[in-house]
């Protein structure tokens, strides 16, 4: 067991002595001495006027006594300031002042309650009393949503008590926690153990703390993030509290006198330096490479411009602000010192004038002014709109005016998206050549959490709500999984913003995961929380729900229902579509109806079904129609029908009708979707399919199914025989068939099932009439008759809809219009009425 002895620890001894300097008596005496010195000084001045000798003597004495006391007082106070020894044999000596105070509180608690052993649970209780500790525990959700007081009190009650308890008898578990805390401090290259390290020690070595954190859905790495979050915010506070001589210098008063006027720029652009100086530095996470690349590009001789290429919302402007922060803090290359970055309002330049000549003049004046001022860096967001050949509103081609300035006269930072870079900038090789291209990639989920950590204090201040760490994780989880067409960090920031405002409006003070899930679920119309309550019941009874719309087809319904349950219970890998099924069987047996029912069950509405008729994709070239065509210089490429639909509505059921009719190359395309859950479209965008259910239908093998059923071959045997048939006839490749979660054979409907289908459809009609307050009933004879009319050996139950329209709906419509049926009437249709 490691050595942990607070009685012999030097820092504890010094802390004890130092307390005497902070006592009320010591402070009063110090203030008295300061007064004495001041009085002495005043008396000495008065002596100069009055020349009263004894007054001078008293003054001298007062100054000498008071001064000497203060001299010694400050020495002793400094001398007894505790020192931490991170590598000491006695771990207690590695604690910083706050941690040391926490341990003292633990011993105090033990004395008050006669505990004979000091256990980690007491450390936890003492940490909660410390302001930093409480802050971190609150961020970890301690005592917010879940009541964990029971776990704590149970464990405290377990601690043995004794009347003669030695207050400093630390248990092995306690010492192990402190040792782990020191290990963490050493790993983080700290010179002392801080409160955050104690928390890390607890999560690593205390079973009680681990249990509590498990309840709060916090893992070790989450606690580590909370501690780092706290350290980051403390670091900012310390930076703000620095004395004037330690603060970074931002250029001095002569900076503006040595560079030119920027009258035009002041109208059409905003000075980012001023913004950063006023608002404080922008901290850019995981973007230091891009910031350095901008710095390098702008420092070059000759063409010194940088072009940031990345999707909107990915953080290009934040990167530029990060670069400006470097200028403001003075940690920039000498050639860029005193630079002022102006973000040009491209929209303002292009608006208010339809005349391209006037726009050109504005751009020229701006560039002239920037060139003349000598220290200006221009930042154009949507740079492409200034060099676009496409024309139209918000676009102009000023390439020829801009180009000479970009060749070394003015420094420019441009920002554009990949699509617009290809379309507008790449199309002009001369413009493209003067820029150093910097690709801006989407931040990862972990980096996004860090971005949120930085902005949360501002949001909390604005809305008066508190964000525990779990809520940040939930925002990022939900954003990553359910929002595909907006990149990180924007999509996460938008959720944080919406949720924060909504929680504040509801008068609550803490943002809980349930509130995030509810808001996102409402926005996206998709259940985003873990399946529970009613939804879990619905999933458990999914077969029943599907059978309300689909008659028979038990195997298909069971396969689909099982896949759904796996997905919602979180067992799925999450890197593939929720489910992929191949429905085989003759026409009119319920394949499409099953798909619709599933869309309704899973996505809330059958409108969430993307139906693609694969017979339209028989040519190899039609692949572009499906996934879009690549962009080329001057053109942005065509959008794909499937990829656009999925991109717009990522939570959909995709129904690939008559898949066997599509070109084999197109079938191959789906291999990637089934394996990775994503597809790169023609324009280079990666489309996410992980939130889709893919159902392919095919009539191929219908005869085989019929024959098998006649021979009594069902279940696995039927599936095997079908697969052999499909491979033999080369309808689908084996590797393609193997990718499906389930290949489901839909058997032809029996006469009994046909009657059930008719019954279901007529019930739907009755429900519709009930809305008009008309009771519509059918006799069994009428249902049997309609079932007979609506069934076709080739098309199955497909003609049923037409039969109901012709034989029932038309008659009802005529009767309604002629007034034969009125509100409140009851209509009973029997066999005779179906003619």
């Amino acid at each position: 067991m490691a050595n942990f002895n607070i009685n012999t620890a030097r820092n504890f001894t010094k802390a004890d002595k130092q307390r005497s300097f902070t006592s009320v008596g010591a402070r009063t005496l110090k203030n008295l001495m300061i007064t004495l010195v001041l009085l002495g000084m005043f008396g000495n001045v008065y002596y100069a006027v009055s020349l009263t000798q004894y007054l001078q003597n008293i003054s001298f004495l007062a100054m000498a006594v008071g001064g000497a006391y203060l001299f010694v007082y400050f020495f002793l106070k400094s001398y007894n300031n505790p020192i931490s020894y991170i590598d000491s044999d006695n771990i207690a000596e590695s604690l910083d002042q706050k941690s040391l105070k926490i341990i003292e509180d633990v011993t105090q608690l033990a004395r008050e309650n006669n505990f004979s052993k000091l256990e980690p649970v007491l450390l936890m209780a003492a940490i909660e009393k410390d302001i930093d500790g409480k802050y971190m525990l609150l961020r970890a959700g301690f005592g917010l949503e879940k009541d964990i007081s029971g776990i704590i009190s149970d464990n405290i009650l377990k601690i043995p008590r004794s009347e003669n308890a030695n207050a400093a008898d630390f248990s092995e578990a306690f010492v192990a926690v402190i040792e782990a805390a020191r290990g963490n401090a050493v790993d983080k290259k700290r010179t002392e153990v801080k409160v955050g390290d104690l928390l890390m020690g607890l999560i690593r070595k205390s079973d009680v703390f681990k249990t509590i954190m498990f309840e709060l859905k916090m893992e070790e790495k989450d606690i580590e993030s909370v501690v780092e979050w706290h350290d980051m915010l403390t670091g900012y506070q310390e930076k703000l509290a620095l004395p004037f001589y330690e603060k970074p210098m931002t250029g001095g008063i002569g900076k503006d006198w040595s560079f030119g006027y920027t009258k035009m720029l002041n109208s059409f652009a905003k000075n980012l330096n001023t913004e950063v100086e006023f608002m404080g530095e922008t901290h850019v996470y995981g973007r230091s490479k891009e910031v350095d690349e901008i710095e390098r590009a702008l420092s070059k001789t000759g063409s010194n411009n940088a072009l940031l290429i990345g999707e909107p919302g990915i953080g290009k402007k934040t990167i530029v602000k990060g670069f400006v922060s470097k200028i403001v803090s003075g940690s920039i290359l000498p050639v860029l010192r005193y630079s002022q970055v102006f973000q040009v309002d491209t929209g303002a330049i292009l608006s208010g004038s339809g005349d391209e000549g006037e726009i050109a003049m504005r751009v020229k004046s701006l560039l002239n002014e920037a060139a003349r001022a000598g220290n200006i860096i221009l930042f154009f967001d949507n740079f492409h709109s200034l060099v676009s050949r496409a024309g139209g509103v918000g676009q102009a081609n000023t390439s020829e005016i801009i180009l000479p300035y970009l060749q070394g006269t003015v420094r420019v930072i441009g920002a554009t998206s990949l699509k617009e870079f290809h379309r507008d900038i790449e199309a002009s090789p001369a413009i493209s050549a003067v820029f150093e291209k910097i690709e801006v990639k989407e931040p990862t989920a972990d980096e996004t959490v860090e971005v949120l950590e930085e902005m949360i204090p501002f949001i909390e201040h604005r809305d008066g709500v508190f964000w525990p760490y779990q809520s940040l994780k939930e925002v990022v989880r939900v954003a990553a999984k359910y929002i595909q067409n907006v990149p990180f960090p924007t999509k996460a920031i938008e959720i944080v913003d919406d949720v924060s405002v909504s929680v504040a409006k509801s008068g609550q003070k803490i943002v809980l995961n349930a509130q995030i899930d509810e808001l996102v679920s409402n926005d996206l119309e998709v259940p985003v929380s873990e399946a529970q309550g009613q939804e879990a019941q619905k999933l458990l009874n999914l077969e029943e729900f599907l059978h309300q719309r689909v008659v028979g087809q038990n195997e298909a319904i069971l396969a689909v229902s099982s896949a759904m349950r796996r997905a919602r219970a979180g067992i799925e890998s999450g890197k593939r579509p929720i489910g992929s099924f191949l429905f085989l069987g003759p026409t009119g047996v319920g394949k499409t109806e099953t798909a619709k029912a599933l869309a309704e069950a899973y996505f809330g509405s059958e409108k969430s079904m993307i139906r693609v008729d694969m017979s339209e994709y028989q040519e190899q070239s039609s692949i572009y129609k499906l996934i879009g065509s690549p962009p080329s210089a001057g053109s942005e490429g065509e959008k794909g029908q499937l990829t656009t639909a999925v991109s717009d509505k990522p939570f959909s059921l995709i129904l690939l009708d008559e898949l066997e009719k599509a070109h084999p190359e197109i079938q191959t395309l789906f291999l990637q979707v089934f394996d990775d859950g994503r597809l790169t479209d023609g324009t280079g965008r990666v489309i996410d399919f992980t939130n889709t259910i893919i159902i392919a239908t095919s009539n191929a093998g219908s005869e085989q199914i019929r024959e098998n059923l006649q021979r009594g071959v069902i279940g696995e045997q039927m599936k095997k025989s079908l697969l052999e048939f499909l491979q033999k006839k080369a309808v689908f490749r084996p590797e393609f068939l193997n990718r499906f979660d389930a290949i489901v054979a839909f058997h032809p409907l029996s006469q009994v099932e046909i009657v059930q289908v008719a019954g279901l459809m007529l019930k739907a009609l009755s429900d519709q009439m009930a809305e008009k307050e008309i009771t519509l009933k059918f006799t069994q004879g009428a249902i049997d008759r309609l079932a007979k009319i609506g069934f076709d050996p080739v098309f199955g139950a497909r003609p049923m809809r037409r039969a109901i329209q012709d034989k029932v709906e038309n008659v009802l419509a005529e009767s309604l219009l002629s007034g034969k049926i009125a509100r409140g009437s009851t209509v009973v249709l029997d066999e005779k009425d179906i003619t």
Partner: protein, 137 residues
């Protein structure tokens, strides 16, 4: 940061026996802190008054406000040249004054640091002097 400054280092006076520590604090630790703060403040004053930048652009036109004289008639050229000269003169005057104020501030900071160090080191002597004077009536 402040906490790190408190951490152990081999020369920290807090680790010495109290008698040695007193002399170390009096003659080394506090004077070196005063010198550190003085040096930082001097540097800050130097940067605040942008002395390097102002010296470099001492004779440049004020706010670079200079008119291009090419393609002008001789009479206009002379007039504009005069204007440009005035711009340079204004620049030189304002900059010189700023440099002067800056240098004065730096000198004051430097002097205050020296007085601070010497004063602190001599404090015990001053106390002794005051006591002797107080009792020698």
């Amino acid at each position: 940061m402040a906490a790190q400054a408190q951490s152990a280092s081999r020369t920290d006076f807090r680790e010495m026996p109290i008698f040695t520590a007193f002399f170390s604090w009096w003659l080394k630790y506090v004077p070196s802190r005063i010198i550190y703060i003085g040096a930082k403040s001097t540097k800050r004053a130097f940067e605040f008054f942008s002395i390097t930048l102002l010296l470099r652009s001492l004779l440049s036109p004020w706010k670079r406000d200079e008119t291009d004289t090419s393609n002008m008639a001789l009479e206009d050229k002379v007039r504009v040249l005069m204007m440009n000269l005035v711009s340079r003169l204004v620049g030189a005057v304002v900059r010189s004054m700023t440099i002067f104020v800056g240098l004065a501030t730096i000198s004051f900071t430097f002097l205050a640091t020296v007085v601070g160090v010497v004063g602190f080191v001599l404090l015990p002597v001053i106390f002794a002097y005051l006591i002797i004077n107080a009792i020698s009536i």
